[in-house]
Symmetry: C2
Subunit: 464 residues, 2 copies
């Protein structure tokens, strides 16, 4: 069958007008937030029901057409990029919250529900969806599940995985599976739901998911603490974590802070200049809790770990302190940074960070390294800024060498080459630094179970 | 090779004296807490290292010998029973906590570490392992993972699944896999760790696991509330859950309470007689929290949901209130109860419970039904007591009919035929009430990936 005939056939599976092949749509729906791959899908299809998704998958199996799942396309690993003539399956028209149950504290969502939409719907009922990150305004529930999205509250609430009560999927073989039936306890064999979480659409499509909701946090209060060196960050984390339930524990370096303060629209937390800063957050449910936090702070100062600090006294101050951390990524984008999202276990962070610093310093002394991240869960965002005088191509060529050193160091520390951004195409060739050959063989065999013809997002996680 | 020659060969794989074939050992290690299957293993082997486990698995593959994993053998679904000449692999000699990291808040455990041993080791460092249940004194970490053990604090802390930072497994194919490397964030493809959790040893052996630890709860405080009817339990749960982080929300019926009070060693919570009772627990971190709990209690009384209640004022009172719930199982064992461990989503519990009651009442009016369970997570323990005058065989024959009605009702409510006790052999033939044929086919294909020769705990979860 010709390509044109195939697309005509595809059109019969969905509602009129729900297959697009114009250049602008192919360009827009063929890529995510990564920029390394030129989008080149053959069509974009917009199903409106689970049955239509199933029909598309069956059609794709019949004609060996590769499918790429498409949510908000905010990913940073090119898992939602269609660069090889694939058909993109967009969930933009499956965007309804089908049910919100206050007693079960769950929301049953179609895959295309936007994260923010879920957060607001929860809020309306006095509940809370706690997985939050920069792209919540456009990322979709299906994509969050496909990448097991994390973000800034993982230390308290965990990853997206923890919030999926159940889901419906259409496997690569075209079967509809209802996984876990939204139960809290269900000991009836393998929890297949878990396989689809973080699978980046390589096993099938998540078409519906019931997400758990939580009690709304009360009187969130932040502290920013300046530490004497990076080593001091760890006992500070330990001291707070032993007594309080932290909702966040982030860190950033003096260089990151300098860039954000350079914008001129965010006040400095305090005058003392420190090499590293920790931002922590907790629920000051009662005055006792706030006093306990202050007592821990004083203990940290006495121990010489903390040089200065501030605690938010209002919602405005809370937001201002958070800006110091949240504005980093956007602010440094001006310097075309080399970025890497990696993790090690929390206790190994100081040694790991020093090793990476030393490697970059020794080889590229003119590179400025900006660190920030979710230190409470061992997740570091490494950013290296392009020196103004250096040509882009030269910079990226040198960064490719840095990449190798970073991943070798990650492997030595038994860490992860992708903490929360996934593998997609950008880290596919480095997977062996974090997963053994035996594990990768098992993963490929598991993929073959659910996607026997290899039509689901081929080339993502593994090479085709 | 003869059976005797095989066993001789097995002996060369482990330390001297670490293969037992005497009648008493075969009897003891061939069964778990279920009593329906006669133990009949051919040998018990006690490896002392991961490499020895691997050697046993390779030997088993070579000679097509079935292996049964053996932890504390406290299971209630016959998943650890060896009734068909299998070789039992016991982890009794792999019982060390290899490392306890206070900064990471993790304990790296060999599979045979006893739950209580882990709890005490955590306690020594001012930390807490929160998955707790009646058999914690003899259940082992490997078995907890194999069954994804739950228990009484699931509403706050979740199942064992939530506490496994990483693990080492020996697959049924004899490969050693190190899964997740104890990371909090790791987005590098399928989380194979999740497959082994709750797999009941059918994919391979969990040989080592790093378990997460938590801050110790502060000033745990319990309330027992008597409700007007079962429907009232749900708004009570909702009212408390909206404001407080509950660490438990259990329930029991008047019949269950009567049996426990009949022992004579536990004081009644209060004088008012009620058809249902809820036991809830929370951390009274400050006086504000205790006052908030009392305010919610008063609201529940005003609404007519709660008829009477009591709040613990001391650790002794806390323990006494818990005895009302914890003694039920042991107390009713005198009546040779038919037991079933099932779950539905929380909001469906009242209607589900009434349906089951009506079915039993209509068909067997002389049966006494005793309900209790973890209502906060939708997990109900159904117990039917044998009428004193009825013969055991007649009772169990009638209960087989009840079983079918219960599972049909579970299916109608989209629930689980095994909430937390697993499938093993006792629920294997009923799996289809909770998992679809397509799901079961996927599960079998996944098993074939990790256990291609079917040597791992055959006949458990699925028929051979």
């Amino acid at each position: 069958m010709t390509q044109a005939a195939l697309i005509e056939q595809l059109k019969t599976l969905v509602e009129p007008g729900k297959v697009l092949t114009d250049a602008a749509s192919l360009e827009a729906y063929g890529k995510d937030w990564t920029k390394h791959f030129a989008p080149a899908p053959s069509a974009i299809v917009f199903p409106k029901s689970i049955e239509q998704v199933q029909a598309i998958v069956r059609w794709a199996n019949q004609h060996q057409v590769a499918l790429v799942p498409s949510g908000g396309r905010t990913g940073l690993s090119a898992a939602a990029v269609a660069a090889n003539g694939e058909v993109v399956v967009s969930f933009d028209y499956m965007n309804q919250i089908l049910e919100l149950n206050e007693f079960d504290r769950t929301a049953r969502c179609q895959a295309g529900v936007v994260t923010k939409q879920l957060q607001l719907a929860a809020e309306e009922k006095g509940l809370y969806y706690p997985v939050d990150f920069a792209s919540s305004g456009s990322s979709q529930v299906g994509g969050n599940i496909g990448t097991n999205a994390g973000g800034i509250k993982v230390i308290r609430y965990g990853m997206t995985r923890n919030w999926v009560a159940g889901m419906k999927v259409v496997t690569g073989a075209g079967e509809i599976l209802e996984l876990n039936k939204d139960l809290i306890k269900n000991a009836t064999g393998y929890d297949l739901r878990q396989l689809f979480i973080g699978a980046e659409g390589t096993l099938g499509f998540v078409v519906e998911a019931t997400m758990r909701l939580e009690r709304t946090p009360k009187n969130l209060t932040a502290m920013v603490l300046g530490t004497a060196d990076f080593d001091a960050v760890m006992p500070v984390l330990h001291a707070f974590q032993s007594k309080l339930d932290l909702t966040a524990f982030e860190f950033f370096s003096d260089k990151a802070l300098a860039k954000v303060l350079g914008r001129g629209d965010v006040p400095a937390p305090f005058e003392t200049e420190c090499p590293f800063y920790a931002l922590l957050e907790f629920e000051a449910i009662s005055e006792d809790i706030a006093n306990e936090a202050l007592a821990i702070f004083e203990h940290c100062v006495e121990q010489g770990w903390v040089l200065d600090g501030v605690m938010s006294q209002s919602e405005q101050q809370l937001h201002n302190l958070w800006k110091l951390r949240e504005y980093i990524s956007e602010t440094i984008s001006h310097w075309t940074p080399y970025k890497n999202d990696i993790s090690v276990t929390v206790s190994k962070v100081p040694a790991f960070l020093k090793d990476i610093d030393a490697i970059v310093e020794a080889n590229y002394p003119d590179f400025e390294v900006v660190w920030f991240g979710h230190i409470g869960d061992g997740n570091l965002h490494l950013n290296i800024l392009k020196p103004d005088a250096m040509d882009k191509d030269e910079f990226f060529a040198k960064c490719a060498t840095v990449n190798k050193w970073v991943f070798e160091t990650v492997e030595r520390y038994n860490g992860s080459i992708s903490a929360e951004h996934g593998v997609g195409m950008t880290k596919r060739d480095y997977l062996g630094y974090s997963r053994s050959p035996a594990e990768i063989a098992c993963m490929k065999a598991v993929k073959a179970v659910f996607d026997p013809n290899g039509i689901m997002n081929p080339g993502k996680i593994f090479a085709v």
